[in-house]
Each structure stands twice: as structure tokens, then as C-alpha cells.
């Protein structure tokens, strides 16, 4: 019935549970997910963190929150978010207030505007990067010298004359 809380005081767990339920009803969810079988054409906006494992064509705006594109995620969309993490495919422009992270499995075709950028080895990127706030800009890349991007497998373009 009672248990010690982290602060060491005694609390009625039933009361606490009820309070949490009330809170969960009153407060907005902190995370939303678009599942892998969902295909959305249109504009997506919200006031909570968002994970996309499905397909979205249009625009995505979660300006004060983070957006994660899972490995199955496919976006043909311009994105505005506080933090953007890409594990899937994005064809569109990324505008992040704080940071863009492209994981090793991520593929991005578009322009990035963000004060911070992290690109893992193995990711594929084609487009431009604009770092807003020159003094704060920073790009970080894990050091994995034995791997390389295989985005293109370019062949010899033409025989030499």
C-alpha cells in the first residue's frame, strides 16, 4: 500500500497512481509515432516529439520538438523540428533549431539548415549544409576509417580520350 519514494517520504501509491492517470489525461502525450504501414500525403504538424516509421509526403513541422525517422521511414517532405534524427530515407529539406543527426543507415537528399550536424560513417548525403550561428556551429563524425559511404558506387564515367 505504501512505499518509500525517491525522496524518502511515505506516499500513498494509489493516490499517486490516480494522480498520474489524471495527469496523463490532462497533459498532451510527449511522443507520437507514425507506424511503418502508415502512408500520409499532406502536412503533419504537432506539439510533441514524433517518430516516423512509415511514409510521409508533404511537410512536417514539430518546431519545438524532436523528429526521428526510423529505418523504415520514408519522407518526401520538408521538415521543421528542434532536433532531427534520420535513420531512414529523406528527400526534402531539413530545418533544425538545434541539431541534425544522420545515422549510418540514413539517406538524405536535400538541404540542411542547422547549427549542428552529426553524420555517421556510412550515411548518404547529397545536398547542401548551412550552419546557422557561425560561432556555435559544430559537426561531429565518429571515426571509423575502415568504412565508407556506398551511396553511389560510381563507375568510371567515360573512357579517357
Amino acid at each position: 500500500m505504501f512505499k518509500r519514494s525517491e525522496k524518502g517520504d511515505m506516499r500513498d501509491t494509489n493516490t499517486s497512481t490516480a494522480s498520474n492517470i489524471d495527469r496523463s489525461i490532462q497533459e498532451p502525450r510527449v511522443h507520437a509515432t507514425i507506424g511503418s504501414t502508415i502512408h500520409i500525403k499532406g502536412d503533419v504538424s504537432g506539439d510533441e516529439n514524433l517518430t516516423i516509421d512509415g511514409t510521409v509526403e508533404g511537410t512536417i513541422a514539430v518546431r519545438q520538438h524532436s523528429l526521428q525517422v526510423g529505418k523504415n521511414g520514408r519522407l518526401q517532405a520538408d521538415v521543421h523540428a528542434k532536433v532531427i534524427r534520420i535513420e531512414g530515407h529523406v528527400d526534402g529539406n531539413l530545418h533544425a533549431e538545434e541539431q541534425v543527426v544522420i545515422r549510418a543507415s540514413g539517406v538524405v537528399r536535400g538541404n540542411i539548415v542547422s547549427p549542428r550536424l552529426t553524420m555517421e560513417d556510412g550515411c548518404s548525403f547529397k545536398g547542401s549544409v548551412d550552419m546557422e550561428g557561425r560561432g556555435e556551429r559544430k559537426a561531429v563524425t565518429p571515426d571509423k576509417p575502415a568504412t565508407a559511404s556506398d551511396a553511389s558506387q560510381p563507375e568510371r564515367i567515360a573512357a579517357a580520350s
Binding site: K126, A139, D150, I157
Partner: protein, 205 residues
């Protein structure tokens, strides 16, 4: 399009970066200066973009290897040989509202059709700032890797990441021949490296 992380064929584990005096010169020229713009004609590699972002606030990754291959393969499949001529304004659009200060060409000059080099030079003149710099690595050997080698800009130089052991005939372009095909450019720095690559730093006249 095949993609993902691959083990680099032919890359020896203890391969060491080789010094790049040209990139060092570029850094000294551009570092701490005005708001610069860099065009990377190779594929997007994180550490290279990181390097560029130290000297520029705008970096454009063109992956021209891939763009040219795709463009030409598509055109060639239609049976028109001259339709293979790459349209550089489409493949390498001008940075919006800016002019490029530095082009990282890597080994592209060895792999692009020699007849297309003047067209590339013309396009770079159109989108480049006065004094545009172009860094390039050109093989002095008769045989070159069939797939263009990737390079990572490491703290102590460039690390080559060969992707195949297969070779093909290379154009083996000397400086005079290169300059003939790159009208408007002059050589600022040229260094023959131990690995058989000639490192060039070109500048727009």
C-alpha cells in the same frame, strides 16, 4: 541504388593519411575569413563536411560521380551517344545566393570524359567567386582504380579509401594538358605524392 556501409576493398588496416599541402594552403587562405562556400564534388563523407564547415558556413555536396554516372547511364540507354554529355548546370546547381569559393574535385578529373572538362570549367567559372580555388588529385599512372577512390580528410592529411582492386586505363594528364582543358584556371600549387597522385590547387584567373 545499392547503399549501406561497406568494407573498403583493398584498404589496408594500417593505411596512414598522407600530408596534403594543398588543403593546408586552402585552410590558411580561407580560415577565419569571410563567409565562404564550398562545393564538394565527391560523395558526402562526414569528416570532409566537418572540415569544410570549419572554413565555410555553406557546403554543397554534389556527389558528381554518382550524378554523372546516373545521368550518362540514363542517356546512353536511349541510344544517343552525344546525349551523354552532362548538363552541369543541372548536375551542379549554383549555391543559392552565393558563389563558390572552393571546389573539392578529388579524383573527378581522371574519371570525367576529357571532352567534358572544358564544360565543367566553364560552369565552375559561372558559379565560382573571383579567385575560386579547386583542389584535385590526378593520377600520374597509366592504370587507375576502376572505381574512384574516396578520401577522408583526417587531422594529419588525407586518408585514401580505395574501393576496388580492379583497374582501368587512366588518362594520365599532365599539367599542360589539364590547363588546356580547364580554360580560365591556373595552377597555384602542384605536388607529386608518393602514391602516384599529383595534387593540384587550381585558381580562377
Amino acid at each position: 541504388m545499392a547503399r549501406g556501409t561497406i568494407a573498403v576493398k583493398g584498404a589496408v588496416p594500417d593505411a596512414a593519411p598522407f600530408a596534403s599541402l594543398a588543403l593546408q594552403a586552402v585552410t590558411e587562405r580561407l580560415d577565419g575569413g569571410a563567409d565562404h562556400c564550398v562545393l564538394d564534388l565527391g560523395p558526402g563523407i562526414g569528416v570532409n563536411i566537418e572540415f569544410c564547415l570549419r572554413i565555410a558556413s555553406h557546403v554543397q555536396v554534389a556527389d558528381l560521380y554518382d550524378a554523372l554516372s546516373t545521368s550518362m547511364l540514363g542517356a546512353c540507354s536511349q541510344g544517343s551517344e552525344r546525349a551523354c554529355c552532362p548538363v552541369f548546370p543541372e548536375l551542379l546547381p549554383a549555391p543559392p545566393g552565393r558563389r563558390a569559393d572552393l571546389v573539392l574535385a578529388w579524383t573527378l578529373l581522371d574519371y570525367i570524359d576529357q571532352d567534358d572538362l572544358p564544360r565543367l570549367a566553364q560552369h565552375l567559372r559561372a558559379i565560382g567567386a573571383p579567385g575560386l580555388l579547386m583542389h584535385a588529385l590526378v593520377s600520374t599512372r597509366t592504370r587507375i582504380p576502376r572505381l574512384p577512390t574516396l578520401f577522408r580528410i583526417e587531422p594529419h592529411g588525407l586518408l585514401a579509401l580505395p574501393r576496388t582492386d580492379e583497374e582501368c586505363e587512366g588518362p594520365r594528364q599532365g599539367q599542360v594538358r589539364l590547363l588546356e582543358r580547364l580554360p580560365g584556371f591556373r595552377v597555384v600549387r602542384s605536388v607529386l605524392l608518393r602514391n602516384g597522385l599529383q595534387e593540384y590547387l587550381f585558381a580562377l584567373k
